[in-house]
Symmetry: C2
Subunit: 389 residues, 2 copies
Amino acid sequence: MLLSELIQRRDKIRDIMFKEGIDAALIATNVNLIYTFGQVVSGYLYLPLQAPARLFVKRPASLSGEHILPIRKPEQLPELLAQCGLPMPKRLMLEGDELSFNEYQRLSACFPGTEVLACGSRIIRQARSVKTLWEIETFRRSAQAHAVAYSHIPQLFQEGMTDLQLSIEVERAMRQQGCLGIFRVFGQSMEIFMGSLLTGDNAQEASPYDFALGGKGVDGSIPGGACGHTMQRGESVMVDMGGNFYGYMCDMSRVYSVGKLPQRAYDAHQCCLDIQQEVAEAAKPGVPCEELYQLAADRVEKAGFADCFMGTKQQAKFIGHGIGLEINEAPVLAPRIKQELEPGMVFALEPKIVLPGVGPVGIENSWVVTADGVEKLTSAPEEIIDLLG
Amino acid sequence: MLLSELIQRRDKIRDIMFKEGIDAALIATNVNLIYTFGQVVSGYLYLPLQAPARLFVKRPASLSGEHILPIRKPEQLPELLAQCGLPMPKRLMLEGDELSFNEYQRLSACFPGTEVLACGSRIIRQARSVKTLWEIETFRRSAQAHAVAYSHIPQLFQEGMTDLQLSIEVERAMRQQGCLGIFRVFGQSMEIFMGSLLTGDNAQEASPYDFALGGKGVDGSIPGGACGHTMQRGESVMVDMGGNFYGYMCDMSRVYSVGKLPQRAYDAHQCCLDIQQEVAEAAKPGVPCEELYQLAADRVEKAGFADCFMGTKQQAKFIGHGIGLEINEAPVLAPRIKQELEPGMVFALEPKIVLPGVGPVGIENSWVVTADGVEKLTSAPEEIIDLLG
């Protein structure tokens, strides 16, 4: 990755630090090291407001370059900063939502005269929520690969398959297109393998997470997704895999059917496509997220699908979420979220309806906010595709 | 899962809590909820020393049963405990190595009159390090499925494949045998997809993690494993996939070759098998981990492979690690680890050597400590299998 790209990102973080009177950040978690250094290392990126960033690296030990210094343990930080001619910070931010309590305490103790603040995660997430041109371009490449992988799905299906068997074939198709497999999530509560494939009533199974659609999964240790159900004629199938091809979590769902579905399923699907269109037409810089949610809620109410919108037994209260290095970034398109869209934000919009006895329908695409609207990144047919047809 | 199994586990934790004068635990992270409740939920398991555990659950909201109560936010805990007739704890432990700093602070603030201790992760890990009979049986089932998946590897290879292409086929074979895919790791620094497949000199590439063998991977955002190298005649291939079939991380590596390898590779492989045998013969309850490491180090030194044992450019300083719900549990077979083996511990033993120009050789099996020795769980041929033969 070009240094200029990394510097641009670091400066986005610095801008917010400056506004909040913070003079340095110590970045220690993988996702924020990828963001500010371009790759995972074991170590710390020290980001002062007024001087170039320094990487203090444990492993790989072979890593070297300007402003890269070896470190064995964080207690060396004061001495290493002095070696770099950098003063101890007055107000230092750490990643309070991401570092473990014990690790935070250990790092904090390395800066005895410093006011240590836990707002690092929030501030870096804010910086990350508006993507650089390079990041948007990377999303475009991911979206293309994601669409190619999905284009193989009709050929992967065989009648009599279980949802899990089809999921395994889709996972392989994703990997063959270059998907890295890893599904990065903010916070430690949600664990997901590569994504989910939901058929029939399994889509109604409530998740422990704040998901639109859950799925029982095959083991209580990793709930969600396919459950081993043999796919039946008249059931719908929703494929929602994480499109992490180059580090960025592109998000895209498409619906398939085993033979013909009841008319109500096509109506519900069309309702989701209409919501998508209405929200996409309204979305532009300056629009608060809650307004976009309300548009969707009003339309689904009018269409008579409110009781099965975003789940049945447990309904998720959002219609979209920011995406980036993690699947759940800012902004969130949900009630009471007054945050306004900004050019460069990238989000997934996923109006979905679950019909008992049939399964999930709806759509999910990834979108980038432009100067005066939004642009769809994930281009692929949006109608329900009959796997028997 | 049977309640008796869960009660046995909770009592193992209580035993240690009692010794350390702790009268309650609040368990909030997935892995420890799986351990103490049998499945992932969004919520808290409250474990008092002297009363049955209570589950306070946010999601799935449908979950109900004896001692299961709904909760919206942790601030309700004091009121809910009072409803249950439970006193506020005097000394409460939280998962200090696993909860984020901000989440820990929030939970801690819910217990204003209580001494809150960050030792929960350590104590639960200690309890988890000695497996129940049910857990050992689950490991046996995982080990069998793991071996079946590996038995297909020779048929999956085609000359001219890249290491990544073969990795994708092995991942699919693992999934087809029931592998859940998710690779659970203690601590948030290590992120791994399903495991690794390393060919030729890629095995020398240093990892940011404390791994025996790294691999470059295909993207800096998820280092490790296959790199897209076309596998060449005369190169070895090590398959090291996480065998998570039922929630437990069975660990097993096997070596394959593309045609014949130089004699030195077979010698190095035999050296690893000899180390495995020597360590397995010496391992029994009461033996300190460091002694087992030393046996391996001495033998590899005599055999002349010390400079390429457990890596070349970066050498890992361990030969084995506990396994369980996570891939990196206690005990660790490493220098200066005085912890003694106990019956019921399960660990992976992985003496490995990397030969420049050839690739990785060696072995990894999962073992359970019995009353008077150790027993191998992962049974499969251990010689280098020629993929062309």
